[in-house]
Symmetry: C3
Subunit: 262 residues, 3 copies
């Protein structure tokens, strides 16, 4: 079974940076299947990358090596890390970009990538995606043991998770991701909401608007109407049927969402 390596970067698709990473990978792991997660993130948006990795890694087969490179600190003293968690491998800068996925995968073991034998011969100061992370991922895909890359890291940097604040009468959460359809996806997951509401009816407030129930599908509301539902990663999402909730509500990441129960 060919190994799978995924790539998630802010390098865009107008330049040749992602191509260069793939060239390096294929020079080391010729039979790897390389999958793009996304590259058109807002430049240097570590939180966005962390969210996308968190909500997609688990759909890949066991053993997949996930590489995430959003790396404003490239060339400075920030560490490069690799980790095993939940049967997957992860590679990236130690700036939190991997952290939400590592937490979700569980039981993470991380090492610093410091062994020059698993880097390109010349390591630039500006493109560790190509010179450090791509070769590390390819070697891991080839079966090189994690611990060969470098010493353990006990304290990989964690991004703070935008945790919902639970109250007796309400949950306050926030928009954690806005997708290309303008859907507003919060960090409030179905399990948490269900345990709190105990079958009570709920309504949702956002940007001065009220949505009076939870729907099951986009099509449950008439075109143009606001709808609240669980998205495909089981997080509470505010959407507009056949439209963009982000445009309709002028809402972006960080917008407050309040869930109330009767």
């Amino acid at each position: 079974m060919p190994p799978v390596i995924t790539l998630l970067t802010d390098f865009g698709t107008r330049d040749a940076y992602v191509g260069a990473m793939k060239g390096v990978i294929l020079g080391i792991a010729a039979d790897a299947t390389i999958v793009d997660i996304a590259h058109d993130l807002p430049p240097q948006d570590v939180h966005e990358a962390a969210w996308l990795l968190r909500t997609s890694f688990a759909y890949f087969p066991p053993g997949t090596v996930h590489v995430a490179v959003v790396d404003p600190g490239v060339g400075t003293e920030r560490r490069a890390i690799a980790a095993r968690a939940g049967g997957m491998m992860f590679v990236g800068p130690d700036n939190g970009v991997l952290s939400w996925a590592l937490t979700a995968a569980g039981d993470a073991r991380a090492v610093e990538i410091s062994n020059r034998a698993y880097m390109r011969d010349h390591v630039s100061d500006t493109f560790h995606g190509r010179d450090v992370f791509a070769p590390a991922a390819a070697h891991l895909a080839n079966g090189v043991p994690l611990d060969s890359l470098g010493p353990p890291v006990a304290d990989p940097m964690m991004l703070s998770w935008p945790a919902p604040r639970m109250f007796d009468d309400r949950i306050e959460c926030e928009v954690a991701h806005v997708d290309r359809f303008g859907n507003l996806i919060t960090s409030l997951d179905r399990q948490t909401l269900d345990a709190w509401r105990r079958d009570a009816p709920v309504w949702i407030e956002i940007a001065g608007e009220t949505i009076d129930s939870l729907a099951r599908t986009y099509g449950a509301a008439p075109p143009g109407a606001l709808v609240a539902l669980f998205d495909s990663s089981d997080h509470l999402e505010i959407a507009v049927c056949d439209g963009s909730a982000a445009s309709r509500l002028h809402a972006a990441r960080g917008e407050t969402v309040v869930v109330r129960r009767r």
Copy 2:
């Protein structure tokens, strides 16, 4: 020979939706070669996807599984279908997105995807691309018989084709696709035009402008000039040499094009 699976969606490349589909596919068909057709379609534009699939599917090797997911009705009662036609396989929602390709491929046989054994264990209400269509495509690529997926569908939904209207002195057709270069591509194919014109000279009218002959290449006209020619899928196209006909003519899909003969 590794099986080929193509993906055509409106999920964009800023989110991880396409990546999740690929992860699911590779978990079932590890050796599949996955090819992106396009993902940056206007959201929920079923006609655009139908056109792109219609004009590209035939260039793939026999046995290719084509997956098209532009699916505003996800989670509602619209069916999920898979089909065999012209030596290819097709998978997508039954909203017409496959219909022009099925007609062009010929001799289509469709089934409803209803067998839960070929879906992900948990099927979300909002992302059948990942939970229904990706696994169905991967299983077909693995050789699972079409009929195993579910019962026959005799009447898959068809989009109406923007057929040219033929008159004695003219053909009225319309722009069916605008590509990234601003080329305006109509649904009038070369064979139909040649049979009608019988070697007579023709001229073309669009948006108040007249193009007095058919050219063979973009380079046949001076830079900036309008040119009419057959595009690479053998449809009549209006272009501007070294420029954008869409910008020059302020024309979009649906714009009327008239071909007249002397």
Copy 3:
């Protein structure tokens, strides 16, 4: 080891043109690993493609077939060429798009692609990417000898390289590429600059601003400050820490950059 074929075009990712090329390749070389370099180039920008190919081809394994199709002259008398250089193969129109890579790879041997046996049966006048270049690349990947494609070409078209102009007190060069981060990358390479400066301190002038030294990393300057450093392809680059130099300086390709030594 599966052969690697890279694709670099201006076809974008909203249309199915790149997909059609991949379908044709996989119909001939079923086990090829196809890698996208970039497709969202400004339409018909041959220089941009030449730069991206020049700065990325060398990271791929020996034997890789690089296909570059930015081809405003498609269907006219411009030749189609294939070449071997530096252990790699190159395929594209003879309009200079390959030229900087061929020069950098060294010892290039080029042929005209004229043997119809290695094209699609029907060759359109508007899409040689699909009908000529994709099949040629796939056949080369399969091991077809270069000389089977057609007769030698002694004089492939060369784009003039934006060579730095060397003076005793200064080097005048120009911005050759602007990447998605707004980094301004010049054609002045590290080796040339180091040989000229002989350890003398240098400062850099661009758009009325002065940068008083060379840095090693983006992080060497405070956020928002201009910084000059060598980019990952070892060319002099003007950047803004956590920002866009292109926006900050209103600079584009062709902008003059002057390096002075004390």
